[in-house]
Amino acid sequence: MAAWNLISQDHRYSIDVQALDNGALNGTLSYEGTTYAVAGGWDASYSLPGRNFSAFALSGSTSEAAPTFLSATGIMTGPGTAPTRIDIQIDLSASSDGSVRQYKGVLLSS
């Protein structure tokens, strides 16, 4: 098991998840001050032939009565136990007002 803690340079986005050896991911993703409980999975580069990059997907939501849902995919650089960079894209949809948002950026080890 490894802990990934990475944050964007402007400190508006961060990820704090546990990466389990079985490929599961659990933790939180913070987006502009709001925290989302997320879960998903990942694969390490070169763990099988043809896997040339480490990649993941996550989804989850806030815990409010009218939750906002989040999904994220990304590519990691560095070892799976401690990635030094994540290229990430995040999508959000809010049940409170039906709005959607997107973000694409880079998270670096904090």
């Binding site: 879960a39 998903g40 999975g41 990942w42 694969d43 580069s45 099988l48 032939p49 043809g50 896997r51 040339n52 990059f53 480490s54 990649a55 993941f56 997907a57 996550l58 989804s59 989850g60 939501s61 409010e64 009565a65 009218a66 939750p67 906002t68 849902f69 989040l70 999904s71 994220a72 995919t73 990304g74 590519i75 290229d87 894209q89 999508d91 959000l92 949809s93 809010a94 049940s95 409170s96 007002d97 039906g98 959607v100 997107q102 694409k104």
Partner: protein, 661 residues
């Protein structure tokens, strides 16, 4: 629980989900994005299930279940009830462990069928040894029409300045100043090209991919030493054609750049860079344009016929890479096929299958899958007395295909073989000294065009027409030029099998033509999504699992991770008969049919068929009872081969040539 099925108007994305609850509950199912199927799970919240919830929203994540994983995550807003959303505005991302790309998609999904109800019957006509560029590369010279229903690009040869270099030190060099051979059209009236046959075994294809000769049939099998392997350059076709000509076709002779004036024209090594203009293959190109063409369909293995055909119907070749030694195929081929899955789907299953072949007793499909399909041969095998019809027979002649079409009696799955033995109409490039090459002959491409026309015309006239999907494809590229590097892929389950030539099966073969014809496919449909032979079983398995749940598990990880081709069904309503084009029948001179081909030398491929047939139980029985004393080693001509097969009860005879006209 409720189920949602929605699709984007551009067919890039289909969603099939099951939801539970009305407040904040579970969501699970599949997303099919650009042909790849993802298993996903997540949660959703229904609008107005609590006062603060003004909209229904969800998030999901999952992956494609492939060893070369792609991860997907999506969020969206639903309109309509949670039981049956009438619209989903979705945004999703995909990250690939293969190339490190991040793809993003935003779109709207509307209620739809899954596309799989567009057909009840599927007919596969698998021809031989042609690349995509060789037959279809000159299509869409001005691009895909703006109003085309799906893909807006076409990966052909026009406007790309494609060429291959002349190998250094070639014995018969081109004219001074010529250092590369550009792609050009096959000359008018030539249906032989490339003649003689290019190299098609694993090591030859490696040379075609990487322009390298190192080891030949021995390690490293003409592969570069770099690991992981670099991207293929696709510039070794000229080098390999020259090499194969010297080593296999005209042993010891070096080919010239162009044919000497004294020879019948169109030989010479520059021809390997020639691709057929659309006017030369009007049946294929008309169907591809009037219905659908896939411009990134790859065969299963960078190698030969038997392995690629095995990948189509069994999802693996059990570690085998080349046809030979064909003598052992019939004892190695234990693996389950899609035919077995259909037969095992139960007495109440409405599904059935037939293989149609010019020689049903030795259909190539029955040789490749000899043990798995033994119960379904035309006659009962020994020790039953010869010629006792097998009540469970699934192998029939092509004439039966025509009558089944006419009577509306096609099974759920028809696999149609061409004639492999001279006069072969399989489109396979002919071997040196073939009687299909010459001034009074016609060439396998024209014979193949006629065969495609026969199959299409029979379906067009059939009462099954609107419920039938016709798939016209090729087993492998056969050494013919193509400019697109094949991608990596998940290997099948290889545990316990010897890896021939040390190949790990993580690379696909070269592109082959793939044309689909259906009343539910709109004109000018171009599918750009990369697919491979495993996509066939993946898609029909998904369809048939809905008819007989659980009967069609993917045959191995290659099929499980294969893209689904259901995006090809671009028309919700069936086109009328008047919109099925009437294509002129290709004309073969009567003088051709009158020829005697019995003295034609046996090609390698033809010999492999005879060798494999000689290992069937029927042949062993015939030898034991003294009906035949011949062995394949004593057979040198087409006539001897056919006489041999006809002499064995249960294997011969082949169909009369008149069926091919």
């Amino acid at each position: 629980m409720s189920s949602w099925m929605l699709r984007s108007p551009d067919h890039a994305l289909m969603l099939e989900l099951n939801s539970t609850g009305k407040e904040n509950e579970i969501l699970y199912g599949t997303l099919i994005y650009k042909g790849t199927t993802y298993s996903v799970g997540g949660s959703w919240a229904a609008s107005h299930s609590l006062p603060a919830r003004k909209a229904s929203a969800f998030s999901l994540s999952g992956n494609n279940g492939d060893a070369v994983t792609k991860w997907i995550a999506a969020t969206g807003i639903m309109t309509g009830s949670g039981d049956a959303p009438t619209r989903i505005d979705i945004q999703l991302g995909v990250s690939s462990t293969f190339d490190g790309t991040l793809d993003h998609y935003t779109g709207t999904l509307l209620p739809s069928s899954d596309g799989l109800d567009a057909f009840d019957k599927v007919v596969v006509l698998m021809l031989e040894n042609r690349s995509f560029d060789n037959l279809l590369g000159y299509m869409y010279p001005n691009g895909v029409p703006a109003n085309a229903p799906l893909g807006k690009t076409f990966e052909g040869v026009v406007g790309k300045n494609l060429s291959n270099p002349i190998p250094p030190g070639v014995k018969n060099p081109p004219p001074p100043g010529v250092t590369a051979i550009p792609v050009s059209p096959v000359p008018d009236g030539n249906y032989f090209q490339p003649y003689p046959d290019p190299g098609e075994t694993y090591e030859h294809i490696n040379t075609q991919l990487f322009n390298l000769i190192d080891g030949g049939e021995n390690a490293p099998y003409n592969l570069p030493s770099q690991r992981p392997l670099p991207q293929p350059t696709m510039n070794g076709f000229v080098m390999d054609y020259i090499e194969n000509y010297k080593a296999e076709e005209e042993k010891g002779k070096d080919p010239t750049y162009e044919a000497p004036p004294s020879e019948f024209p169109w030989t010479g090594y520059k021809q390997i860079m020639q691709c057929y203009p659309t006017s030369a293959v009007p049946v294929l190109t008309t169907l591809a344009e009037q219905f659908a063409v896939f411009d990134h369909w790859y065969c299963g293995v960078p190698s030969q016929t038997w392995c690629n055909r095995a990948f189509w119907n069994a999802g693996t070749s059990w570690g085998r890479v080349v046809n030979g030694p064909s003598l052992t195929w019939t004892s190695d081929s234990l693996g389950t096929t899609i035919f077995n899955q259909i037969s095992n789907s139960g007495f109440s299953s409405p599904l059935n299958w037939k293989v149609y072949s010019a020689n049903p007793g030795v259909a190539l499909t029955s040789l490749i899958h000899a043990l798995a399909l033994a119960p379904y041969h035309p006659t009962l095998p020994p020790p039953a007395p010869p010629f006792i019809p097998n009540p469970f027979n699934h192998f029939y002649g092509f004439e039966r295909f025509l009558s089944d079409c006419a009577a509306g009696q096609l099974p759920a799955y028809s696999f149609v073989e061409p004639r492999f033995i001279t006069p072969h109409n399989d489109m396979h490039p002919s071997s040196a000294h073939s009687l299909l090459y010459g001034k009074s002959s016609v060439g396998s491409v024209l014979l193949g065009e006629l065969y495609v026309w026969q199959v299409y015309d029979a379906i067009r006239r059939s009462p099954d027409r609107d419920r039938t999907l016709l798939i016209i494809t090729y087993d492998e590229h056969g050494g013919c030029y193509d400019h697109v590097a094949p991608p990596q892929v998940t290997a099948p389950n290889l545990k316990g099998y010897t890896l021939e030539d040390n190949f790990d099966f993580t690379r696909l073969g070269i592109r082959v033509p793939m044309i689909m014809v259906s009343s539910h496919i709109a004109k000018n449909t171009v599918v750009n999504t990369p697919m491979h032979h495993g996509s066939f079983m993946k898609t029909v398995g998904r369809k048939w699992n809905k008819i007989v749940p659980g009967a069609f598990p993917p045959l191995g990880p290659r099929v499980a991770g294969a893209p689904d081709f259901s995006e090809v069904f671009t028309s919700d309503t069936a086109r009328p008969l008047s919109d099925w084009p009437e294509i002129p029948k290709p004309v073969i001179p009567q003088s051709f049919w009158a020829q005697d081909f019995s003295q034609a030398p046996l090609s390698k491929f033809e010999r492999q068929i005879v060798e494999a047939a000689s290992t069937m139980p029927e042949a062993a029985d015939a030898r034991a009872r003294g009906i035949t004393t011949r062995t394949p080693a004593t057979i040198d001509t087409v006539g001897e081969a056919l006489d041999y097969l006809r002499s064995i009860p249960g294997l011969g005879p082949d169909e009369p040539r008149s069926v091919l006209k």
